[in-house]
Amino acid sequence: MKMSFISRKTAHGLFLPKIYFPLVLLLFLLVLPILPRNPFYEDLIIMIFFWGTLAASWNLVGGFAGQISLGHTAFFGIGAYTSTLLWLKFGLSPWLGMFAGAGLAVLVAVAIGYPCFRLKSHFFALATIAFAEVVRLVASYWRGLTQGGVGLLISFKPGIENFIFRGKIPYAYIALGLMLLIILVSYSIRNSRFGFYLISLREDQDAAESLGVKTSRCKLIALMISVLFTAIGGTFYAQYLLFIDPDSVFSLSFSIELPLLAIIGGLGTVIGPIVGAFILTPLDVLLRGWLGGISAGLNFIVYGTVLVVAVIYFPRGIVGWLSTWYEPFLRRLPGANLAVALEGTVSPAFSSDTSEPKDSDPGDEETKSPLFKAQSLTKHFGGLAAVKDVSFQIKKGEILGLIGPNGAGKTTIFNLITGFLSPDSGRIEFKGEEITGLKPPHKVCMKYIGRTFQLVKPFNNMTALENVMVGAFSRVKKAKEAREEATKMLDFIGLLGHRDSLASSLTLADRKRLELGKALSTRPELLLLDEVVAGLNPREIEEIIRIIKAISNQGITLFIIEHVMKAIMTLSHRIIVLHHGEKIAESSPTEISRDRRVIDAYLGEEYLA
């Protein structure tokens, strides 16, 4: 009787701790504003929701995408000033003015973000400070519009349509609504393709690009969402306090407070910024109460100290620390054994027979037109010709090797093909289509050309599975499908056992496999491998060679740079040799090993013996 009830899908979920515990928290939040009948606590609760919302919105661009903005106060102020001015000058309801302000702030964000995202982290932070400073100056000195330092006063006319309320409780629920919305938005982003893209570009922008991530566009969208909420927060602030001036809404300390909350709570996590607000906002109020009487500024001394200590010693924040306790805690709640029973029935998402080759056709059909053609590729760095007039072709299903001494221009050729560099002259064709100078790299990935990097570029703070999922997302939209594909891929490259390990914890050999798995999951037809066995021991090399052969058996064309002769000679059908940026030989492995020029330039006399 009871069992049949539980087996119904919607109902049994409620008994799982991981479902009902968050629901209990949500219920707690919903009653929080009406629990205290005291203006002081009501104000505190509003401030917690308010700061939580803003910190979480900063976290989208600063935490997820890793773009450190110290200029968010500008967007906050633009939101506050726009809705207030529209209300004061034209009587436009702040509910509408809120969206006008958000729209304007987003436009400004695009205008400033688009060029500034090219800057490296420290300089991006600097540019955003400077930008916010310019906006503050404009607000202070454009007196005709903003009344400058005098500020704007909104007269107290309660009414729903005026966004002005007699008591504090309506404000509390509006702030709570905003906070729940940003949590929902953050959660959806974190578990979607877009979220994976943001975190991957934060971890390694080049690697993300090579897997088809439109990094510039992703950063910009993250900034736009973040700014939207920040500006709405500005309107809320204006309507709650009914007074704004440049010093309060355009201040550097506001810009610092948002990341502070996010960092203390747990940067780049969904609820970290909220947790930060729940801990630091009451602390701030208490400190102001206890210490503020003695002197202003003391609370900021505590804040600053906490920030410094946190980034040096606890960069993962409270949530990072709690997360190790959260799962065990859930397991001790009633209903946890139910979860175990249910999860046991879930069929495994992968089967072990995935390494079977697809219909493959490795035979060299010379009648076919080549899959890939490079003609007279040339690239100069300053006066140095890194690649000089290099031409070659790759046939479908072939494994082409590329060897040559260090500095011969091998990796440069890979970079020219994959959009990390543009050739000075020459022509590149893939599947009969010209792709010369196609940029940025994600476009090349989408043409079904994949690559790995000589110095492996794992997304360190993502698990092995998540690393591969980033690649899989280039071909599928849904996280579920990407997870399935990535699981199969991990099985194929022999990393299934490390599925949930962070990439940073893997050995070099495993990181090289992961590199292969990431590139392969973009389903390339041509895969460029840059020294995938360098630095490995003989047994590990054997393993990788086996995987590469399996890749080739699936019909994927391979172009391989390698210094380990055993690997390149056994794998390649043909080899080209580069020396000082020029192609000095091209033929089968056996002939290459006898070629005089190649021996002189690269292999050395011992190789003959």
Binding site: K120, H122, L252, A296, I301, T305, V306, V308, P315
Partner: protein
């Protein structure tokens, strides 16, 4: 008109000398440690207060106070480097940025706590003295500040060119790995570079106090100018910082006169953003 222009050039250059001294410390720290010291302005503020209190309590002339401020700030720099910068030297940029941002928050509010938000300055016998020649006016303390700033910058450049420590620091700024292989004690050089950077900005504070007010947030004002100068001069070129400082001084003098003193800040922030976007290596930086 010509006299006005010459007067503006003089004003601009005199101001620019101090900007250069503030900025050169920031450049040195960034060039060697690859960290932007967001608390740089707060050390300027502390330098101003140090000189102010030496004058108020012990009657030490602000220029004489340099003899105490420079070594003290050097030691403070060593300590800050050891305690805060060293642990995050290889950390992700976010940790680096917020370590010094947090420090700036602390220092600013420590000043507010102890010395309140009052504007304080030093009134010396020479505070209002002016040299007048041919219709031109040159404020004496500004001239002295300029000469001292240029002298200190020259001394620093000489030190970096001539001494072993100086050469080691420059080597480190160019190529860290190679410098390590040559047996340079990287951690020690990091400390010394940071110490020198802080000593420079502390000294700038001391020579600024006879002509400007000290208050807890004064650093924020100047550090933004310093950021502009550093970007303009090329963030790893000390000579660039010197010339950048002079240029920004001129820009400030001219835009203050021809536009509005209120807009001079807007002008150099626009320059800042334009330089970052179109010539991120600055006017004198190497690529």
């Amino acid at each position: 008109m010509l006299a006005t222009v010459i007067q503006l050039i003089i004003n601009g250059l005199l101001l620019g000398g101090i900007y250069a001294l503030i900025s050169i410390g920031l450049t040195l720290i960034f060039g060697v440690l690859e960290i932007i010291n967001f608390a740089h302005g707060e050390f300027l503020m502390l330098g101003m207060y140090a000189s102010y209190w030496l004058f108020q309590l012990f009657g030490v002339d602000p220029y004489l106070s340099l003899l105490m401020v420079i070594p003290t700030f050097f030691l403070v720099g060593l300590a800050v480097q050891r305690i805060i910068i060293q642990p995050i030297i290889n950390a992700p940029p976010l940790n680096q940025i917020f370590a010094t941002v947090g420090l700036s928050l602390v220092l600013q509010n420590v000043a507010l706590f102890f010395w309140k938000a009052d504007y304080r300055t030093v009134r010396t016998a020479y505070s209002t003295l002016c040299l007048k020649t041919g219709g031109l006016m040159i404020s004496l303390p500004r001239l002295v500040a300029f000469v001292l700033a240029i002298a200190m910058i020259s001394a620093l450049l000489m030190f970096l060119k001539r001494t072993y420590t100086g050469k080691a620091i420059r080597a480190l700024a160019q190529e860290k790995r190679a410098a390590m292989l040559m047996g340079i004690n990287v951690y020690r050089m990091y400390q010394i570079a940071f110490g020198i950077g802080i000593a420079c900005v502390g000294a700038a504070g001391a020579i600024l106090i006879p002509i400007y007010y000290a208050f807890p947030t004064v650093g924020a004002l100047f550090v933004l100018i310093a950021f502009v100068v550093v970007i303009l001069g090329g963030y790893n070129s000390l000579v660039g910082a010197l010339i950048g400082g002079l240029i920004i001084g001129l820009v400030e003098a001219f835009s203050g006169f021809f536009l509005s003193p209120h807009l001079k800040e807007a002008v150099y922030f626009v320059i800042f953003i334009l330089i970052l976007l179109f010539r991120p290596t600055g006017l004198f930086g190497r690529g």
